[in-house]
Each structure stands twice: as C-alpha cells, then as structure tokens.
C-alpha cells in the first residue's frame, strides 16, 4: 500500500511537469476507419518540406552550381553511392526508391527533433516525428519487402524462388522466415530508436530543464541520421541481394 501511494504520487508529479504521452493518438475517422491524425499532419509537413526545397533548388540548374543546387547534387550523389554499393551496376531504377526512403525517414526524424511541434496543441496526443508511430515504420518496411520481391521477380522471374533452397534445401524454413524478419526488424528498429530517443529527451527535460538534455538532443540528431541511413542501406542491400545471381 505504501509503495502504491508513493509511486502514484511520483508518477503524478512527473506527469504534471513533463506531459509524457506514450501511445496517445489524435484520431480522425475516414470512411469508418480510424487514422492517426498527428502522424498524417507531420508527414504532410515533411513531404511539403522535401518537395518545396527540391523545387526551389533544382528549378533552374546551373553548370556551376549555386549553394542550394550544390547541396542537392551532393545528396543525390550520396544516394546514388548508397544504391550503387548495395545494388551494383543496375542501381539506376532503384535510386528514387532508396533516395525517397532515406530522405523521408531522415527529414521525419529530424523534424521530430528540430521543429517546435509542441506549439501546436492537439485535443489528444501530440505532434512528433512521423517515424515514431509504428504505422509509418511498418508501412515503409512493407514497401521495402514489396520492392525486393518485385526486384527479384522482374530480374529472374519464377527462378527467384530458387534462392529459398540455396545453398541447401534444409535452409528452406530459415529462408522463408527471413522474409518476415526483414520487415519486422526494419520497422521495429526505426520505431524503437526514434520513440526511445524522443522519450529520453522528454524525460530528461522534465527532470532537468536546462543544459543537461542538450547532449542527449545532439545524440538524438545523430541517431536519427544513422537510423535513416541504416534503413535506406538495408533496403538497398535487400534489393541487391534478391537481384544478384545464384549459381
């Protein structure tokens, strides 16, 4: 009984300061289905940021690039480099997928850390990075699965199934299992990292509002970038793996 009162008091106090909200969603109803409005709103903002900056910077390409164009060229080179190292010579058609994957996750993660979402009050839940909702990460991971299946089929037709009994048919169950673990690990890695990062920052801010959370925030920015890179690199690696020849 003592423990109970203690914990409730502590929790209450903590809650009043920090306003930590886990698993709270702001619901909209679309045709009888529920959606997480906060995720959609932030994802729209992310998409607008990406498209807007791209339109402004790439509208009128110069032979000697301006600062903005230079940055976008650098990003494109970076994405091409990732695709090329993971997929190989036939990376061309996959650049948009890998690039959008990287940019969407990266801008989403950083928007969660850098944009002052808290200014906008929602009736329930709160605005945060779209990637800290399991729906987003699973959606991206499933798209990756579809992408590598498509890559394999378009390259090798039904011969793609041959890879399930490589190198020996004994590994068939493990190979099938892999198709489930890949999207699972992709989505949960991203979700867990971003959610944990935001929670750590929020809790630290609630405990010590000054100075102390700053290194953690920088660590969060770093982790966010790394997670985006990991997701894109793994997606490219899976696509490359399903396209490579098994002899």
């Amino acid at each position: 009984m003592n423990v109970l009162s203690c914990s409730i008091n502590t929790l209450n106090g903590l809650y009043d300061i920090s306003g930590v909200e886990v698993g709270q969603h702001f619901y909209w109803k679309i045709g009888g289905f529920q959606v997480h409005a906060q995720v959609l709103i932030t994802s729209w903002v992310v998409i607008v940021i990406l498209l807007g900056s791209a339109i402004v910077a790439v509208r009128n390409p110069q032979t000697i690039p301006t600062a903005g164009q230079n940055f976008f060229e650098y990003v494109l080179e970076f994405i091409r480099d990732i695709s090329k190292t993971q997929i190989g010579e036939e990376y061309g058609p996959w650049v948009p997928f890998i690039g959008t994957m990287f940019l969407f996750i990266f801008v989403s993660n950083w928007s969660g850390a850098l944009l002052p979402w808290k200014i906008i009050q929602l009736p329930q839940g709160e605005l945060a990075a779209p990637t800290n909702d399991i729906n987003t990460t699973v959606a991206l991971a499933l798209l990756t699965s579809v992408a590598y299946f498509y890559a394999g089929f378009s390259k090798k037709g039904l011969g793609y199934f041959g890879k399930y009994i490589q190198p020996t048919p004994i590994l068939l169950p493990i190979n099938i299992l892999e198709d489930f673990t890949k999207p699972l690990s992709l989505s949960f890695r991203l979700f867990g990292n971003i959610l944990a990062d935001e929670l750590v920052v929020v809790v630290l801010v609630s405990l010590v509002p000054l100075v102390v959370p700053i290194p953690v925030m920088f660590l969060g920015l770093f982790t966010s970038g790394i997670q985006a890179l990991i997701f894109a690199t793994l997606a490219a690696a899976y696509i490359g793996e399903s396209m490579e020849g098994h002899h």
């Binding site: 009984m1 423990v3 109970l4 009162s5 914990s7 409730i8 008091n9 502590t10 929790l11 209450n12 809650y15 306003g19 930590v20 909200e21 886990v22 698993g23 709270q24 969603h25 619901y27 679309i30 289905f33 529920q34 959606v35 997480h36 995720v39 959609l40 994802s43 998409i47 990406l50 498209l51 791209a54 339109i55 790439v58 390409p61 032979t63 164009q69 976008f72 060229e73 494109l76 994405i79 091409r80 650049v95 948009p96 997928f97 690039g99 959008t100 994957m101 940019l103 969407f104 779209p130 909702d133 399991i134 729906n135 987003t136 699973v138 959606a139 991206l140 499933l142 798209l143 959610l195």
Partner: protein, 219 residues
C-alpha cells in the same frame, strides 16, 4: 521504477469494473475509477483526484500488456502498437512522394549532372589533344632551331675557310716576295763573288810573278 508503476497501475485497474463501451477513456470511465477509489486510503484519493484524464489513460496504457483479456478492448485506443488506416495512407503518401521527387529532383538533376560530366570529360580529352599539338609544335620549333644552328655552323665554316684561304694566299705572296728578294740578293752576292774572284785572278798572276821573282834569284 517502471515495474513498480506497472504493478501499481495493474492493481488499480483490476479493481475497477470493465466499462461496457469501446470508447473507453471518457469521463465515464474516469468516474467509475474514482468511484472505486474509496477502498484505498485517503492519500490515494488526493493523488487520484488531481490525476488528469490523460494520466489515467497513460496508466492504462502502461498496464496494457498485463491486463486481463476483458480490458484489452478497453485500452485499445491508447496503444503503442495500434495499426489502422494510417499505414496504407503512409504507403500511398510515400509512393506519391517517390514519384514526385523522381520527377522534380532525381531524374532532371541526375540527367543534368551526367550531361555536365560528359561535357567536362569531352573538354578534358580535347585538352589532351591540344597537348599533342603542343608537342608537335615543340618538335617543329626544335627542328627550326636545329636547321638554324646547322646554317650558322655552315656559314661559320665557310667563313673560316675563306679567311684561311685569304691568309694562306697572303702568306704565299709574302713568301714569294721574300724568296724573290732572297734570290736577287743571292744573285748579287754571286756576281760580286765572281767579280771578286776575277779581280783576284788578275792579282794572283801579278802576285805569283812577284813571288817567283822574290823566291827565285835573278839569274
């Protein structure tokens, strides 16, 4: 601490009767929870009376994993792993974003960069060609220099020869002159010698006569 919170909230929720409606975290359930509270001590009441609607849902969310099956439905709305229509919508958004980014960024800028690369490479190779031209020109220059040097040395040789010939000619002339003079002087000398000898001859006769006269007494 987390486990303590979980345990405590679990206790709380187990004592509360399950609410009938699916839209759980309404004021209704809040009231019901508070109704059950008098079973606890006074401190709990104070604590919970200040609890907001949000913190209650937080508690229920935290206890979700340990909650009995009946409560699962009730807490559905405040879950971390809540899949719904958001997932396909994000997928569609992603695909649209992919096509749009490809159209306005990846393809045009990529094409532009490739073209620029090709142009730069072409220019570089053309610069390499001109370097060959430069080499040719250098060779030409070297040839011209060689020719000029040969010409100069030829002219020098010629001049040397000419001057030498002139010098030799003059030398020969001088020598001839000297020889002629020498010859003349020698001839003169010879003549004088003969004259002297002749004059001596006539004297010899007279002298020998005298000698004879002197040596041989006059008989």
């Amino acid at each position: 601490m987390a486990t303590v919170i979980m345990a405590s909230s679990k206790l709380l929720i187990r004592q509360s009767p399950p609410t009938p409606s699916l839209s759980t975290i309404t004021n209704k359930s809040n009231n019901k929870l508070q109704v059950t509270l008098p079973k606890f001590t006074k401190t709990h009441l104070i604590a919970l009376s200040s609890t907001t609607f949000k913190s209650l849902s937080l508690l229920t969310a935290a206890s979700f994993t340990f909650a009995p099956p009946l409560l699962a439905e009730e807490i559905e709305k405040a879950a971390l792993f809540d899949f719904n229509l958001t997932l396909p919508i994000i997928m569609v958004e992603f695909l649209i974003l992919m096509v749009a980014l490809d159209k306005i960024w990846f393809t045009p800028l990529g094409k532009f960069m490739d073209e620029r690369d090709a142009a730069i490479r072409e220019k570089l190779s053309s610069v390499k060609d001109t370097s060959e031209e430069v080499k040719q020109l250098e060779e030409q220059a070297a040839a011209v220099m060689r020719a000029a040097r040969a010409e100069i040395s030829a002219a020098l040789n010629k001049m040397k020869k000419e001057t030498q010939a002139e010098v030799e000619q003059k030398l020969a002339e001088g020598r001839k002159k000297v020889e002629a003079e020498l010859q003349e002087a020698l001839a003169n000398l010879e003549k004088q010698k003969e004259e002297t000898i002749q004059s001596l001859d006539s004297q010899i006769a007279a002298l020998s006569d005298e000698i004879v006269k002197k040596v041989l007494p006059i008989q």
